[in-house]
């Protein structure tokens, strides 16, 4: 779901940049000097792991593939603010080092994947009662991908309308296509997220039971 250069109307890309900068600035503000140093190596490992996982597209049928976004995974394990740092770092490396996702579209990619994935995924996960934590992980990670694709479809349709067809894709194609594909990709995201969280909580619970960061707390992940 990495938006390339030249696909979206420049004004839509600009709005994406503004939203991304504001949310990144707020994240940095709330996170600043609250992140314990001992959490950093784990953050770095999770970041590197999500990067390589994003390279591994999985087939969803019909000659289409999808890949893990990992934002909800990072938010569940480390909180949404630390998750934002990780996913934004990955998106920057992908755009600047590997040309995956356009530089002009970086703001939209931050919005669609990092912001929606971390904050919406985290909010859904936290909203589900603790006794349904497994369901919460699955629902949050699926919904983060689905809503991220809905945002991307809206950006495509908006670009199409604003430019008279020079940019974007008509909503008649963008909405059904993006939502159908990503409802399936979201299943892969949910399964992988659930698997990773379950595995880490069982083999190294102390690794993820690190202190919470300010108001934007993680909840202890304990899967029985």
């Amino acid at each position: 779901m990495h938006v390339p250069d030249g696909l979206m109307h420049p004004l839509i890309s600009l709005v994406g940049w503004i939203i991304a900068i504001v949310v990144i600035a707020l994240s940095v503000h709330f996170l600043n000097k609250k992140l314990p140093y001992r959490t950093l190596p784990l953050m770095a490992v999770i970041g590197g792991g999500i990067f390589v996982a994003q390279m591994l597209n999985f087939p969803i049928g019909g000659g289409t593939t999808g890949h893990l976004v990992g934002a909800t995974l990072a938010a569940i394990l480390l909180g949404p603010l630390a998750g934002m740092v990780i996913i934004v770092t990955i998106l920057i490396i992908q755009a600047l080092l590997f040309g995956d996702g356009g530089v002009t579209a970086l703001g939209l990619n931050v919005l669609n994947m990092a912001i929606i994935g971390c904050f919406l995924g985290w909010a859904v996960y936290r909203a589900v009662p603790g006794k349904y934590q497994k369901f919460g992980i699955l629902l949050a990670s699926w919904l983060a991908v689905f809503i991220g694709s809905l945002a991307c479809a809206a950006e495509l349709a908006g670009s199409f309308v604003m430019s008279g067809g020079a940019y974007g894709i008509t909503g008649l194609v963008a909405f059904p296509s993006m939502l159908i594909y990503h409802s399936l990709i979201g299943i892969g995201e949910a399964v992988i997220t659930f698997g990773v969280v379950s595995y880490i909580s069982k083999v190294s619970p102390d690794l993820i039971h690190t202190p919470a960061v300010g108001l934007w707390t993680r909840r202890k992940v304990v899967l029985e």
């Binding site: 992140l35 314990p36 140093y37 950093l40 490992v45 590197g48 996982a53 591994l56 080092l97």
Partner: protein
């Protein structure tokens, strides 16, 4: 900031899993686009010229892709550590 040596195990495990899954990626997924690329294909929209020419790509073969995965892992790992050092606080000064 001390590096927890226990993290070497998950790092090696991640790269080992990546090495195995990359085989399946090249068998089942490599020729196909993702959801957005497929949507663009359906709509007949071509990907535009990038405004910035990235120095690397993910590669078209297994050894290159594995090397790029390793480079990407290290780049993200290093940058997250750097940002964390800027945003973080020393462990002994906090009250959790």
């Amino acid at each position: 900031m001390k590096f927890d040596k226990r993290l070497f195990v998950p790092i090696l495990a991640i790269m080992a899993i990546f090495a195995v899954c990359l085989v399946f990626f090249f068998i089942f997924s490599a020729p196909y686009g993702d959801g957005l690329e497929k949507t663009m294909e359906t709509a007949g929209v071509e990907e535009g010229e990038p405004v910035f020419e990235a120095p690397l790509s993910y590669g078209e073969d297994y050894p290159t892709a594995f090397a790029m995965g390793l480079i990407g892992f290290l780049a993200v790992f290093g940058l997250v550590l750097l940002l964390g050092r800027i945003l973080g606080r020393k462990d002994e000064t906090h009250n959790d």
